[in-house]
Structure formats: C-alpha cells, structure tokens
C-alpha cells in the first residue's frame, strides 16, 4: 500500500478512520472482511480529484479535503431535535423511515404502517447474513468508502402487484456537527407494483457534517415507480450520494432530484434500462448560492432495445456558486430503437456564477434517436421589465421567472402533493435569497 496516497489533505492517516469505526460497523465476520477490502480499495484511490475524468468538475480533495470521523450514535437530545426536523420536512401522508446521523430511528419511523405495505429490514439485519448489498460493480472511491463504513440503511421490498397509495419517505437527518454519516439502502420493487419513494436530506441544528449515501434500486417488469430525492442540507454540509437503478421491461420510472443546500454536493445516478419497452424520465434542479458547489451526474445505460429516456435538468446559480451537470447516455449495440433525449439549462444570476454542462452520448447501435441540448444564460431583461412595469419589485420578478424556469423540471412530478412539497422547498430557497 502506498502510504503517501493514503494520507488525507490534512495528513491524518485514512486507515485511522476505519480502525476507529470498526467497532460500530454491523455485519458478520465475512461482511467485515468485505468492508475491509472496500476500505483498502478506497485507501489506494483516496478521495476523487480532478484528474479522474468522472470527477473533473468536482475535485473532492480540493473541495472537501478529508473525511470526518463517524458521528456518534444519536442520544435522546439528538433524537428530540430529529423529531422536530421530521415534522418540518415530512411529506403529507407519507410513510416515514428516519435515519439520524446514519442510524435508523425506529421510534421516529412508521414501521408498523409500512409492514402492511412492504417488506422492511434495516441494513444491519440484512448484513447479519449476507454481504451482497455492499457489493456493486462500481470502482468509484466514494462508493467503496460507503461500502466500508455504512452503519445503517433501510431495505425495502415491494411485493409483485402491490399498489402503494402513500409515498415512502426516507428522511436522513444530521444532528451532529463535524462528523460523517454513511448509509446504504435498497429498494426492490416487484413486478407490476406501484410505489413512490422520497428521500430527504436535512439537518437538525447541525453544520459542517458529511453525508455519504448509496441506494440500490431494482424495478420489476411492468412496475410504475417515482423516486424523488431532496437534498436540502445545511449550507456548510457535504453530501455525496450514489444511486444504482436497474429497470426491467415495460416499466415507468420517474426520477427527480433537487439540491437546495450543502457547500459541496454530488448526486451520481447510474440507471440501467435492462428490459424492453421501459420509459425513464430523469429530471433535476440545482438551486445554488454563495459558494455552493452542486454536481448532478447521471449515467443512463440503454442495455436493451425499445426504451425511451428523457432528462430535463435546470440549474439556478447565484453569487459565486458552481453547478455541474454531467449526463451520459450509453446505447449498447443491441439497443436498437432507443429514444434518448437530454436537455439541460442553466440560469446564471450573477457574473461570478459558474455552470458546467457535460453531455455525452455513447452510441453503439445504428437505429436510434438520441439528442442533447444545453444552454446557459441570464434572466431575460425584457421579461423582468414587463413584470416590474406591472408592479413587481426586482426580487419578486426574479423569483417568478426562476420558478417558471425550474418548473419545467418540477412539473415532471406527477403527484400533486409531492409536486407542491417540492415547489414549497424551492419557494423557501427563493425567500432565503431575497
């Protein structure tokens, strides 16, 4: 092992991180061996940096420097703060599963209500028997680190044909400052099932924390799934989350992510269309200000013929913030009749705001329809003047135009209650701005 590489920016030996965490990590001895291997992989790689192509615009070594020690198991006071946060951020009518500082909080969760609708286990319960959930095909360092250090998570299985009327909301709450939380969850959706999963990331009076989450989703044939992620972290937090989705045949999968906080955030989604006749709608909004850095990286892999994918991404960037969108569409040699489109637009609210759009099409089939478009620009002065001439003050006029701009992505959320919930978060972001 190369010790020089294994040091963090601040010189702390990274192996200390694993040694200090090991006593907290759930899993059989076999599982711990898998974790150690994953950690060694992370040690070799270190935090991703700009010379790694996938991380070119989000240099975690420069932006984050080091991984903080694991947060302590939440005490009663922390759980009380978390309970308040749950109230503030719950989606109306949702079945809630709450993770506080990377630990599942049964007392804040609707486990009983869920039991009637879906199979539920925690990550430690699953890892007692099997390390499979810690394994992914990815060689990414942050994902390896997640496999090594994941303390908890929710493992959901939705039965074939189940029609869940209420959304399941997984709420990640940080109550500990200057500490990190590692979580890994799994959602398996049966054939013909219908479900909405919401994941919310928020703080309860904590700052400068780090989140590293991974979620593994598999969707059976003919299922209808909405998956919504709301990264509404504290302004000085770091949130790196990874999402792996495998979609069967004739599925409708509607994915949406919105980032409205965190000093540094990255959502990396890897979505594989593995069954024919499926439709993917993957959409996102970044609302960034101050010096925030928000990265959405989506890889959509058309592995089979006759699937449709649509990506709509909007970034609103104020002050000196930096938004990154990397969208890759892969069309495998067999994936004829693929229809893949990606459109990303950035709205720059200040001269120092920065947007990086990196669309990539990798097409190996010859009978496909694929395209991408990207724009970046400021608010239209003629629209602003029209609104002001009708009595709207500058900030209010801007807010109306910004809402319209992000609305093009938000309106892809079909459920009225959820869409209003998301619009509410965007409106609060706009209020904080003015």
């Amino acid at each position: 092992m190369n010790v020089a590489v294994a040091k963090t920016g601040k010189g702390r030996a990274v192996s200390d991180l694993f040694a200090s965490a090991e006593g907290r990590l759930p899993g059989s001895p076999d599982v711990i061996a898998v974790r150690r291997e994953a950690f060694e992989s992370y040690e070799r790689l270190g935090l991703p940096h700009r010379r790694i192509e996938e991380w070119k615009y989000t240099d975690l070594r420069a932006l984050v420097g080091e991984v903080l020690p694991l947060a302590a198991t939440p005490d009663a006071a922390a759980l009380k703060r978390a309970a308040d946060a749950v109230k503030a951020h719950a989606v109306d009518g949702a079945c809630k599963l709450v993770l506080v500082d990377g630990v599942f909080a049964a007392e804040l969760s609707d486990v009983k209500a869920l039991a009637a609708e879906a199979g539920f286990k925690t990550l430690p319960e699953v890892l007692d028997k099997d390390a499979g959930l810690l394994k992914t095909a990815s060689t990414d360092a942050v994902i390896a680190l997640n496999a090594a250090l994941a303390t908890d998570g929710v493992v959901l299985s939705i039965a074939d044909g189940a029609q869940l009327s209420a959304p399941i909301q997984i709420i990640h709450i940080a109550t500990a400052a200057s500490a990190s939380a590692f979580t890994r969850s799994q959602v398996s959706v049966g054939k013909g099932a219908r479900v909405t999963i919401v994941e919310t990331f928020v703080a309860a009076e904590a700052g400068a924390y780090q989140v590293n989450d991974a979620v593994i989703v598999s969707v059976g044939d003919n299922a209808d799934v909405a998956h919504i992620r709301l990264m509404d972290d504290a302004p000085d937090a770091v949130n790196v989350t990874s999402q792996f989705v495998t979609v069967g045949a004739n599925v409708k999968f509607n994915f949406f992510n919105m980032t409205t906080g965190a000093a540094v955030s990255r959502l990396q989604g890897f979505i594989t269309l593995a069954g024919e006749g499926s439709e993917l709608s993957a959409n996102g909004v970044n609302l960034l200000k101050k010096t925030e850095h928000g990265d959405t990286t989506l890889v959509v892999d058309h592995a089979v013929p006759n699937c449709v994918s649509r990506e709509t991404f909007r970034a609103v960037i104020d002050d000196r913030a930096h938004s990154v969108f990397q969208g890759r569409i892969i069309v495998r040699p067999d994936a004829q009749k693929t229809d893949g489109k990606m459109m990303t637009r950035a709205l720059l609210l200040s001269d120092e705001a920065e947007a990086d759009n990196k669309p990539e099409l990798e097409i190996f089939a010859d009978d496909v329809s694929c395209g991408h478009g990207a724009t970046a620009g400021a608010l239209d002065d003629s629209l602003l003047f029209y609104l002001k001439a009708r009595g709207l003050p500058e900030k209010q006029a801007q807010a109306l135009l910004i809402q319209a701009f992000v609305g093009e992505a938000i309106e892809q959320i079909a459920d009225d209650t959820l869409r209003e919930h998301v619009i509410g978060i965007a409106e609060r972001w706009l209020e904080r701005r003015s």
Binding site: K388, A389, P393, L400, A404
Partner: protein, 250 residues
C-alpha cells in the same frame, strides 16, 4: 395640479439623443393622442415614463401628481398608477396568467399600503373583466401571452389595465398587428375605462385607431419634439396631408 407634466425632456440612447426637449401636460380625464412618423421618439417617451432601463435622461423632468417620476423604480411607478400597454407584450412561459395577475395586483396594493385582494373577490373581478373583453377562461390558465395571437396579447394588456385601475394609461401602438375586428374589441375595452379620474396617452402611427378611441387632444411628434398640438381634427388633417410637412418644420 396636472396628472403628468413632462418638461423639456432630453433623452439619450447610447450616444444618440432621441428626445430633444419634449414638453407635454396631461390632466385627469383627458385622452391625448401622440402621432408621428417612425423614429420620431413616440415609443421612447412611453418607455421613459414607464422606467425602462437603457435610456439616459440628460435634462428635463417628468412629474406625476407633482412627484419626480424619474426617481422611482418601474414597480413604484406602477403602484402610483402609471400603466404602459406594451406595443409588443412579452411571452412568459411557465408563469400562469392568473398567477401573474394576482401577484402583480397584490404587489401594487401592498406598495400602496392596501390589503391584498381575497381570492373570491379577485376571481370575480377577473371573470367580469375578461368576459367583457371576450377573453376565454382557459387563456388565463396558460403562460402569460404564450401562444396568444396579436389581438389576444393586446386584449390581455387591456385586461390588466382594467384590473390594476391605473390613473395614467399609455397605449403604445395598440393598433399594430391587429385586424379591424381585434382592434374594435381592444378599443371598446379601452373606452370602457375612460373616466374623469383617469388619463390616457394613445401613441399611434395611424389615424385609424383614433376613430375608435377619440382623443381630446392630438400632438404631432417629429424628431424628438412635439411640433404641433390640436384637437381631434388635427389627426384627420394628418391623414390627408401626411407627416412630411412636420419633418421639414422640425
């Protein structure tokens, strides 16, 4: 006190002077037509009164009920009762017309220290006005002016005028791009808003509009000045003789 006093106004756009000392007084209840050839500065005058950026006032004053309009932001002017009906109303995708109307009306009321309209009162008022202007309800659910025809856009401007109840309405080339039927509907809407407390400035290139909106006064602009003022007969004279005589006079 006059409602609007424009005194010896000089305005530049970039390095070019467009208005070279324009004077105009408008009292409550009066309808003034401003006519003139293209490039005479008609639209510049309307933009400067409404507060559009990009114009530099180098000399002169604009007083509205005695207050210095040039010191106010466009939204303050709107709240005080200045309304510009745009020659080319912009399309605002994603902002529903109804939401826009309510937001604007309440912003103006808030600026004046008035209570916001209740939703039922607001809806009732919009329905009344839109019906009289032949504006279908589904148009109000669409984005502001998105996919509207030229006539619909102008009617939407008149709808706002009726809702906001301004004391000074400036109609900038309201007839441009309208066929005769669309023009009649828009003009009927404007005429319904004539009242002793409200003044209008009707800017137009053609006399045609003034058959529908009959002015009390007509001013001819040429090369950035008012070169002749008179009553409605002046518009007919112009129709017969054209603007050439005034271009020479200026």
């Amino acid at each position: 006190m006059a409602l609007l006093e424009v005194k010896d106004l000089k305005v530049r756009v970039e390095e070019r002077e467009i208005l070279h000392g324009l004077t105009l007084t408008v009292n409550e209840g009066e309808v003034h037509a401003i006519m003139g050839p293209n490039g005479s500065g008609k639209s510049t005058l309307s933009h400067v009164i409404a507060g559009k950026p990009g114009y530099e006032v180098t000399d002169g004053q604009i007083l509205f009920r005695g207050e210095d309009l040039l010191e106010m932001e466009p939204e303050e002017r709107a709240a005080k009762g200045v309304f510009l009906a745009f020659q080319y109303p912009v399309e605002i995708p994603g902002v529903a017309t109804m939401n826009f109307l309510r937001t604007a009306l309440n912003a103006q009321r808030k600026a004046r220290g008035e209570d916001e309209y209740s939703t039922p009162d607001f809806l009732k008022k919009v329905r009344e006005v839109s019906k009289s202007l032949n504006i279908p309800q589904d148009m109000l659910k669409r984005g502001v002016n998105v996919g509207f025809s030229g006539g619909e856009k102008k009617r939407n401007e008149v709808l706002q005028m009726a809702l906001f109840e301004p004391s000074l309405c400036i109609l900038d080339e309201m007839d441009s791009g309208l066929d005769i039927d669309a023009l009649r509907i828009a003009a009927d809407g404007v005429n319904a808003l004539r009242s002793p407390g409200r003044a209008m400035i009707v800017i137009t290139h053609y006399q045609r509009l003034l058959n529908y909106i009959v002015p009390d006064f007509v001013h001819v602009m040429s090369k950035g000045r008012v070169v002749k003022s008179g009553d409605k007969e002046l518009a007919l004279e112009l129709e017969a003789s054209g603007y050439a005589q005034f271009e020479d006079a200026a």
